[in-house]
């Protein structure tokens, strides 16, 4: 059975290591914070200028002057700090943030990512995505393996406007966990429970590399 959004978030949470500073994108990546084990201490960075982001506030705690990069009201935890947008992207560009988790519309087998623009359709802007993908040492993409109309989102080449080149290291989809190989190709690491390698191959337009037995995702 394919993973749901929570399943994807739970699997990505296992990639989080003690002591990491992490930037979480909007959507599934935001959910990851809910599944980080209690014995793992991390700090969440929000690129609008907050490090040490906490959970959503209670009704009584709501503060219009404290939001995350998705413009949602948030809280901060003990040890938090607040800074300007220039400082925030300085810490991103300077690679002080260890892990970036974000969504994508397409990823290529070389690790290119497209997630900001559909020509003729949506005019929104890239926000901080281009800065994040250009600088992060470790980028994990959370996405559906196929689009709503069934087309693969793991491609030889991205068809949509690029957000960044050769930057994605790992992808967690509803069907599989994959690593982007430096020489190109999606190396299949794990498959969703009950999903066969063949089903994953069929859903992957780019080069899929399968070596040996592929274990099921444990969440």
């Amino acid at each position: 059975m394919a993973l749901d959004k929570i399943g994807i978030a739970k699997r990505i949470a296992r990639e989080v290591k003690d002591g990491m500073y992490i930037n979480l994108g909007i959507g599934i990546p935001t959910l990851v914070a809910n599944y980080i084990p209690d014995n793992i201490n991390v700090e969440l960075q929000s690129e609008n200028g907050l490090l040490g982001m906490g959970p959503f506030p209670t009704e009584a705690e709501v503060d219009a002057d404290l939001i995350n990069a998705g413009k949602q009201t948030v809280t901060y935890l003990p040890g938090a700090s607040i800074f300007s947008s220039a400082e925030s992207f300085g810490m991103i560009r300077g690679q002080h943030v260890h892990l970036t988790i974000l969504g994508a519309m397409e990823v290529s087998e070389r690790g290119d990512i497209a997630n900001w623009k559909i020509p003729g359709k949506m005019v929104k802007g890239m926000g901080g995505a281009m800065d994040l993908v250009a600088s992060a040492e470790n980028i994990i993409v959370a996405m559906q393996h196929r689009s709503r109309d069934g087309a693969s989102k793991l491609l030889k080449e991205c068809s949509l406007p690029i957000t960044g080149l050769r930057c994605v290291k790992k992808i967690v989809t509803d069907l599989a966990v994959l690593e982007v190989l430096p020489e190109g190709g999606f190396k299949l690491l794990e498959r969703a429970p009950g999903i066969s390698v063949e089903e994953i191959r069929e859903a992957t337009e780019g080069k899929l590399v399968v070596e040996g037995e592929i274990p099921e995702i444990q969440i």
């Binding site: 209670t58 009704e59 002057d65 939001i67 413009k71 009201t73 300007s84 220039a86 281009m130 690029i162």
Partner: protein, 231 residues
Amino acid sequence: MINKVVSNADEALQDIQDGAVLMLGGFGLCGIPENSIAALLRKGVKGLTCISNNAGVDDFGIGLMLQTRQVKKMISSYVGENAEFERQLLSGELEVELIPQGTLAERIRAGGAGIPAFFTPAGVGTEVARGKETREFGGKTYLMESWLRADFALVKAWKGDTAGNLIYKGTARNFNPMMAAAGKITIAEVEELVPAGELDPNMIHTPGIYVQRIYQGQQYEKRIEQRTVRS
């Protein structure tokens, strides 16, 4: 001590002309100069270029200035919450330049700090890189980006003093400090204006040297875009 205080937003903005290049602080609706935007609406100046991370929502923030067709060009990183913006853009009434958020922040910072250009990895290999100089440093490619400066920077702070020193609260800081430094004339509105000497110099975020005019803002609405609570 130089006194920067003006009585209200209308007085502060009196010499903004049609076609001016403005910077407006804020991230979403958080930390936006509400009173200065209201004064721009009253004043009716047109043909403005607005440098701001976002373009407000349809009925608040810069969105209000789009409704009145006062904006000729927006320079932003993300404009997704504004249907009127999208309509004017698709119909060609409005020019827009979309810039990666970190590049936008740094271009403004560079403008205030007297650095005409810098190199960043953001946007390499994308449409943002078109026509821009690239250079390799340590085997990695970077894009050259130039500074941004403005005729007027409109910023909003939590507290300020008569000398123009500013302290921001929470994530309402965002783009405000860099914009304060990048405006030829910087106009700060504050929730609480106090006499010089009352703010602890150790706690100042924006030194008064960057601020030409400061006024006490009125009736802050501080609208929340995505009110999200836990039970």
